[in-house]
């Protein structure tokens, strides 16, 4: 079943149009990676899908339902969570408070879920009463993921989860992302580490200048000459 679909989405900031009709599709329990040069509009696409930016034309479908133009709060309630590219934790809140904010809209007892999520990230668990601002870059990225898991989403939008991390942390983050998918969550991620992310992806999209450039399975993109030349460094 198609979990999330963007159809010919047009969006931008103020007068400027950044996306000129971009389409992506994510099936249940799949990982989809979006790659492309800086300024291609990858982050803009995630923000538009999540309702942080108005969708000027085109449609966003979530679980078959038209959710175009709904607010982030509605998306969250419907089971879509989003981790921004930067500033994705609350620095003056403790680790635990960050998770509580992730569960803000839950009215039931979210404690068991919190323990479960913390168990996924032992590094972060150890520092549950530390302010998030004091965590290392890798730990912050883990916390940002953990925050988004608190609502048990059906779809997770991740904007460059491995950006500016040390190589061993990159590996760890990708391992966690695989684990999350295995637990039944569909994932759309934007990535600069194209090779590693495409390896674990079911599908990949290449975006350039606000348009779809290429798409295919993770492997086919890894083998593609154009992707190799542009994004995999040879």
């Amino acid at each position: 079943m198609t979990m999330l679909e963007a159809r010919e989405v047009v969006s931008g900031y103020g007068e400027v149009e950044i996306l000129h009709g971009v389409s992506i599709k994510v099936e249940e329990e799949q990982i989809v990676t979006i790659i492309g040069p800086n300024g291609a509009g990858k982050s803009t696409l995630l923000k538009t899908v999540f309702g942080l930016l108005p969708c000027r034309r085109g449609r966003v479908l979530f679980g078959g339902e038209d959710v175009t133009g709904q607010s982030p709060q509605t998306m969250v309630r419907k089971g879509m969570c989003y981790v921004p590219q930067s500033e994705n934790v609350f620095p003056t809140l403790t680790v635990q408070e960050n998770l509580e904010m992730g569960a803000f809209i839950r009215r039931d007892n979210y404690r068991p879920k919190m323990e479960e999520v913390l168990a996924l990230f032992p590094d972060v668990m150890e520092r549950r009463h530390t302010r998030a601002g004091k965590l290392s870059g890798g730990q912050r990225q883990m916390l940002a993921l953990a925050r988004a898991l608190m609502l048990e989403p059906r779809v997770l939008l991740l904007d460059e989860p491995s950006a500016s991390l040390a190589p061993n942390m990159v590996e760890l983050v990708f391992a966690k992302i695989s684990d999350i998918r295995r637990s039944g969550v569909a994932i759309v991620m934007v990535e600069q580490n194209a090779r590693e992310s495409l390896k674990l992806s079911n599908r990949g999209y290449v975006l350039a200048m606000g348009e779809n450039r290429l798409e295919g399975t993770g492997e086919s993109l890894l083998d593609s000459e154009e992707v190799g030349r542009l994004y995999l460094g040879g």
């Binding site: 942080l52 982030p72 709060q73 500033e87 609350f90 003056t92 904010m101 803000f104």
Partner: protein, 345 residues
């Protein structure tokens, strides 16, 4: 003369060292100013206690009042990112609303007022709190929808400040009002300190309310959401926090704290339509000294500014004591703009 030149020379090298430190090693400079300021404030407090304990006590009383205002100001700034120039006049409105609601008669123990005052304070808190929410809907909400800049918000709040004062002036006139007339003797405490029971009430009320604010901010769901939103608005929205709900609570809390501060100021001295406006500078000085957006900072800043203002009257004319707040404000902005507890940017 030669000695003076030598000293000036030394002072200049110290200053250039500091300026160089700031440029070359901003992290060290930051830590140094952080520790330095705490040491400075500590030394000042000890000095002040030795010079004139009575002035320190009065400083703490006024500091309590400023703290209640400054916490509201800092919360509003943290969440809506604008300087609310109407905060002092919200305090004033609270004082007058309590005056309106106050049925005199009776007194609790040694206090100059009775349960009527407690009731009046509650009326003032609720009306200013709810009033702030209504004004937000009417004035600030449309500005937010339009995406107005901080300057527009600040000017709008200044306009509201003037409006509030004009309304109170129309209704009650410019002459000072007093909650309870008559002479209320002060108690003599050790070390020659005199304090009135009413002033103990002021400090106790402040302590109670600040404790309540801390419980709210650090223990409740909405309080944590307020801190989250003040950290990062976009991430708060992404997490499903409803900004409108958080903003409503912020006004409710900030407004009711301002109302109490106003009433306490009225109890401490008297009511005049410009009582709030004249407190605006100490309020901002306290907020910035402590670090904008930080409740601990507002509390510390309020105490430092008020005690400094009070103690300064041993040497300078009390009419100029506002200048002390102003000087502290400017020094802080020059040395450490983020204040004592403010976040690094």
């Amino acid at each position: 003369m030669a000695e003076l030149v030598a000293r000036a020379g030394k002072a200049r090298t110290l200053l250039t060292t500091l300026v160089m430190l700031r440029r070359e090693r901003p992290d060290l400079f930051d830590a140094a100013t952080g520790i330095g300021l705490w040491v400075l404030f500590g030394a000042f407090l000890i000095f002040a206690v030795i010079t004139d304990l009575q002035l320190v006590v009065v400083g703490i009383i006024l500091g309590s009042i400023v703290a209640l205002g400054a916490i509201g100001l800092t919360l509003v700034y943290g969440i809506m990112k604008f300087a609310n120039f109407a905060h002092g006049d919200m305090m004033m409105c609270g004082a007058y609303l309590a005056f309106f609601a106050f049925i005199s008669g009776g007194s609790i123990g040694p206090l100059s007022f009775g349960y009527g005052m407690i009731l009046a304070i509650l009326v003032a808190m609720i009306s200013v709190g709810v009033g702030s929410v209504v004004i937000d809907r009417l004035v600030y909400h449309p500005l937010r929808q339009r995406g107005s800049g901080v300057v527009v918000f600040a000017i709008a709040s200044l306009g509201l400040a003037i409006t509030f004062r004009a309304l109170i002036l129309l209704w009650w006139g410019p002459q000072p009002q007093i909650y309870v007339t008559g002479i209320h003797p002060a108690w003599d405490l050790p070390f020659g300190v005199k304090i009135k029971p009413d002033q103990i009430f002021i400090i106790a009320t402040t302590l109670f309310l600040i404790a309540a604010v801390y419980v709210l901010l650090f223990r409740t769901r909405i309080g944590k959401a307020m801190r989250a939103m003040s950290d990062n608005l976009e991430l708060a929205r992404v997490s499903g926090i409803n900004p409108d709900q958080v903003i409503m609570w912020t006004w409710l809390i900030g407004g009711s704290l301002a109302a109490v501060a106003g009433v306490l100021l009225g109890i401490q001295s008297q009511l005049t339509p410009d009582m709030g406006f004249s407190l605006l500078l100490p309020l901002f000085a306290a907020t910035i000294l402590g670090g904008i957006g930080s409740p601990h900072g507002a509390l510390t800043g309020a105490m430092v500014v008020s005690i400094a203002q009070q103690v300064s009257t041993s040497w300078i004319d009390p009419g100029y004591k506002v200048a002390v707040a102003f000087i502290l404000l400017i020094l802080m902005l020059a040395v450490r703009p983020r204040g004592l507890f403010g976040m690094k940017t």
